[in-house]
């Protein structure tokens, strides 16, 4: 960010607010571009993973090699699709909901360090900010479900609200565990801490447990199977986005895949070393070398967790509403607290676990 401001200053003589605004615009534009390209790739990947798990081939024709352009074609189709607003829907709310949904998740990405120095804002509240801003998405979903004037949509929205609000507790509590060890909300601190010590997943069994709890509850936050109740296809047709089509529908899709990305990225950054390579100390490297390698390493870890999310989705049946709730409150929340307190005790006495 600072580098960008400096660059603008040098190149165009921009200063102060103007340079800041320009830098923000470039950052936001590049993140938006990244999100779009990533989502297309992730959708293609999802279809491929699903197909190969299900002994199919998935898209094979569009674009030549293994149908790589299928998502592009789909995106173009969605762009040119007729924009339908149901007659008795609340037009303004119906119109604004996808934007609200997308904003929440999208905003979370601005604090993410992709590599050394590749970060829009090095916010010291990083993790907390992501969790907080992601909760806006629920409002968007409720608006969508309510404004569609469809019973299925309303059911989906209510389910989403109940589920996501409930699962914020185990998600946040599980996140507190590595925060407790590192002592900071800042995402960059996790990278440096793990570069100096070891990956947090190996720190103690409680951290591994917290990682598991976070991963499970982040699935619920992303509305992924087995917690995809808000859009439970076999029950609610398509849940809260039943009435959406075309571009607006694609916003919900973008949101889902971006939130998957954020969840996977948080797992990778907080527990699995972030952009650090295992067994290799990259802190002394030249930035020109460390930056691309860092980005590749982080994205590789992230995509591994995205793959696990997809793998789970195509393996498990869907839970029922009350079971999702009881799982959250009876199993995940208590164990998240156990992990938190146990980690505090563990670290207070400075016990080790694995020979690291």
């Amino acid at each position: 960010m600072e580098a960008l401001i400096g660059l603008f200053g040098e190149l165009f003589g921009l200063e102060g607010t103007l340079a800041l605004s320009a830098a923000y615009a470039v950052c936001i534009g590049s993140i938006l571009g990244f999100v779009t390209v990533y989502s297309m790739f992730a959708i293609w990947m999802e279809r491929k993973v699903a197909a190969h798990i299900q002994v199919r081939m998935g898209p094979m024709v569009t674009g030549g090699w293994h149908g790589w352009a299928q998502s592009v074609a789909d995106a173009v189709k969605l762009l040119f699709k007729e924009d339908i607003i149901p007659t008795r829907a609340n037009a303004f709310m119906f119109w604004i909901a996808p934007a609200v949904v997308f904003c929440g998740v999208f905003a979370g990405l601005i604090v993410v360090p992709f590599a050394v120095g590749v970060q829009v804002v090095d916010l010291h509240l990083g993790v907390f900010f992501i969790i907080a801003i992601a909760s806006i998405e629920v409002i968007g979903v409720i608006i969508a479900g309510w404004a569609s004037n469809s019973k299925y949509s309303l059911f989906g929205a209510v389910r989403e609200a109940a589920q996501v609000v409930s699962y914020e507790i185990p998600t946040a509590t599980a996140l507190l565990v590595p925060i407790l060890v590192v002592g900071s909300f800042r995402l960059n601190d996790f990278n440096t801490w793990q570069a100096e010590h070891h990956w947090l997943i190996f720190h103690s069994p409680w951290l591994a447990m917290a990682a598991l709890i976070f991963f499970i509850s982040s699935l619920a936050g992303c509305k992924r199977a087995p917690f995809d109740l808000p859009e439970a296809e076999s029950e609610l047709v398509s849940g809260f986005h039943t009435e959406y089509s075309g571009m607006r529908f694609s916003f919900f899709f973008l949101e889902e895949y971006t939130s998957m990305f954020v969840a996977a990225l948080l797992t990778a950054t907080l527990w699995f070393g972030g952009f650090n390579l295992p067994f290799v100390d990259s802190s002394a490297w030249h930035p020109a070398l460390a930056m691309p390698i860092g980005i590749v390493v982080l994205l590789a870890k992230t995509f591994f967790f995205i793959f696990v999310q997809m793998w789970l989705r195509w393996t498990l049946p869907r839970l029922r509403v009350d079971q999702v709730m009881s799982m959250g409150y009876k199993y995940l929340v208590p164990w998240a607290f156990v992990a938190l307190i146990a980690t505090a005790v563990w670290d207070y006495y400075g016990w080790g676990w694995l020979p690291l």
Partner: protein
């Protein structure tokens, strides 16, 4: 930049507040409340209270308003629209209140007149707040007391809900 953001968030809060107060549909009002809370969170942020702002978003925008929306959407249809006329009698009281508030603001402006207002670059506050929470000479006791209170409230809520269940016929 920051003063621009301040104006921006204040505008969101104000516009949301106006819609919330004057919109006929209670659901719309609830959604407008979300805008208000979000705008206020942004104001906190620009004023340097970033932890407070984030907490505001997490708890109020993402939590409390959703409960509110639940209550509004799931209640009976009659409550969906409010007749403003019924509250017309309250207008003088509200007017008096408004006048009082104006007077207060006038006082605030008078105090701050002549002083140079500078918006500071926000400093991280979370460390200090965290220290205060666990500091025996800080807010450890109130914090713990509040936790116990919340626990009691939680247990109470469960008890009340359980009693109602047992009371329902054909259970």
């Amino acid at each position: 930049m920051l003063d621009f953001m301040f104006v921006f968030f204040a505008a969101i809060a104000l516009a949301g507040g106006l819609v919330m107060a004057f919109h006929q549909s209670i659901v719309h009002s609830a959604f407008a409340l979300v805008a208000v809370l979000f705008g206020v969170a942004g104001l906190y942020w620009t004023l340097g209270a970033d932890l407070l702002g984030a907490t505001q978003i997490l708890l109020y925008v993402g939590g409390v308003t959703i409960l509110l929306l639940f209550a509004v959407m799931l209640s009976t249809r009659d409550a969906g629209r409010l007749a403003i006329g019924r509250y017309i009698l309250m207008a003088p009281v509200l007017g008096l209140l408004g006048a009082g508030l104006l007077r207060v603001y006038q006082g605030v402006i008078a105090i701050s007149e002549g002083r140079e207002l500078t918006l500071l670059e926000p400093e991280p506050t979370s460390d200090a707040i965290g220290q205060l929470f666990v500091d025996p000479h800080g807010f450890l006791l109130p914090f713990e007391v509040l936790s116990v209170l919340l626990l009691v409230v939680l247990v109470g809520a469960v008890t009340v809900a359980r009693q109602q269940q047992e009371g329902t016929p054909d259970a």
